[in-house]
Symmetry: C2
Subunit: 294 residues, 2 copies
């Protein structure tokens, strides 16, 4: 959908402010009273997956993984999910659920309800709930401060490289293709980042630079990236701009002596110039990120 972000921005303006102590639309997930976190993301055939490239079980896995990544990016623990399936033939449904239930088991995020309906194409919409640890606040996009380190949870680019390999018919054997089919969000890194005093976090689903730009705008900071680690089989361009990462980017002050280590890989620093977006000293283009189309 061209203009996905513009359309989302207009809708956000219509939703009104969140209740006191809550966080409404505009972050990776909403945060409600009692530390309940809610994320929703659909997986649409022809947009988020093609049967010619991955299995329906992979699509079921990805539908939950996308949402678990959003929940983790808020600093919350996955709790449970509901799944609405539109337009699936009966056999398709079984295969979708094979992957969905495997993911639900993997993240201890059980499917507690759902619905089925006819429709013009296959759409699997998962809503995941998470819970913040007692007394902990959420990790928002807006909390980064100048001087914080910028981190990612893993080398990047596997989603884009995997999709390219599958399109080229280069099988599912490569680590990148396997990641594209069944991404594994950074739940443990998110937990450790929270413990280390992270100030802000975002799920990288639309490309590192584009998602860091969202974080920079929300926090009013710039960022200077020194080095962005590239996953096996990926290019530097994939790592900077590729979609389907489902890794975490976060900001964290330098660790104090004797304090917990900061997890993940440091890639740069938040700066006081809210317009700065640089990589190895040169401006980096924010456009070119990923608005979901296959």
């Amino acid at each position: 959908m061209t203009g996905e972000f513009a359309a989302l921005g207009r809708l956000l303006g219509r939703l009104g402010p969140a209740a006191a102590g809550e966080v409404g639309a505009g972050d990776d997930a909403a945060v409600l009273a009692g530390g309940v976190v809610v994320a929703v993301d659909p997986v649409v055939e022809g947009v988020h997956f093609l049967r010619s490239l991955t299995t329906l079980a992979d699509a079921g896995w990805k539908a939950l993984a996308r949402n678990v990544s959003d929940v983790a990016a808020m600093g919350a623990e996955p709790w449970c999910c509901v799944a609405s399936v539109v337009g699936a033939a009966e056999d398709d449904l079984e295969h979708l659920y094979d992957g969905l239930l495997a993911a639900a088991s993997h993240w201890s995020c059980p499917v507690v309800g759902g619905d089925l309906a006819a429709g013009p194409g296959l759409v699997l919409t998962v809503t995941a709930l998470g819970r913040l640890p007692t007394g902990a606040g959420p990790l928002l996009r807006s909390g980064a401060r100048p001087g914080d380190g910028v981190y990612v949870s893993a080398p990047l680019g596997r989603g884009a490289a995997g999709l390219r390999a599958l399109r080229a018919g280069r099988g599912t054997g490569s680590p990148a293709a396997a990641w594209y089919a069944r991404p594994a969000p950074s739940v443990e890194v998110a937990r450790a980042a929270r413990s280390a005093g992270a100030t802000a976090a975002i799920d990288i689903s639309d490309g590192l630079v584009q998602d860091l730009d969202h974080l920079g705008v929300a926090s009013g900071v710039g960022f200077r990236l020194d080095d962005v680690p590239v996953a096996e089989g990926a290019t530097q361009e994939d790592a900077l701009h590729g979609g389907d990462e489902y890794h975490l980017a976060f900001c964290c002050p330098d660790p104090t002596a004797g304090g917990p280590e900061v997890p993940g890989i440091r890639i740069g620093t938040c700066t006081a110039d809210p317009g700065e977006r640089t990589f190895r000293g040169a401006p980096v283009t924010v456009a070119g990120g990923w608005e979901h189309t296959l």
Copy 2:
């Protein structure tokens, strides 16, 4: 979708039991620790609405109303919702949100998040959260006992009669057509029923008899219906079997002297014969209910 209930039944068998103190899939909504209730229902163009009959704003309204009805049927208060929109052109999105936000305001159930994606047809999936009053248990389908009265929250049949009127080109002026376009779930009756000691409840979305059958199976009771009130413009058949009601059916012991009145309209009695399904002394067909197709 032919076989919607059969397919749902097979999936339920795969989901595993709910955690202690929680209620998983198989009721109108899931109930989680802390009294959080979660319902999800999609509204699909060509299945749940047609642009030739109602507006996109009506579809947005209905997408939340369906879920509010499920939340109310659990005895919970609407809390908030998230909305995932697939396949909407930009103007369509604004119109969908006109109705969705009007409903959110009407039931104090704000839209706290969501997502947009491209897709082959218009699918609006709303997930609504509710909260049980402190200390209150949920109203399940399984709690009815022989001797309980059977009640509905209003005269029935408006959904089916409204759809028929609209298909026949008889405008939107009739109460039934207006109800079909913008149903108003029985949140207040559900609240009063809970206070009066209701033992079981179900959202009537697939036809009274079919939904009461689900409740009867879950509770292990039969039901003997004496009189089913018919809404203006509807037929007795509409009231027994019509879809798109979004009213409530519930079971409740007879009120005690000095206790709270039971709200709604009494239509019959739960019986000890789990196979009994009668209306005015004759067996009533359960099949013929409504699996969503327009």
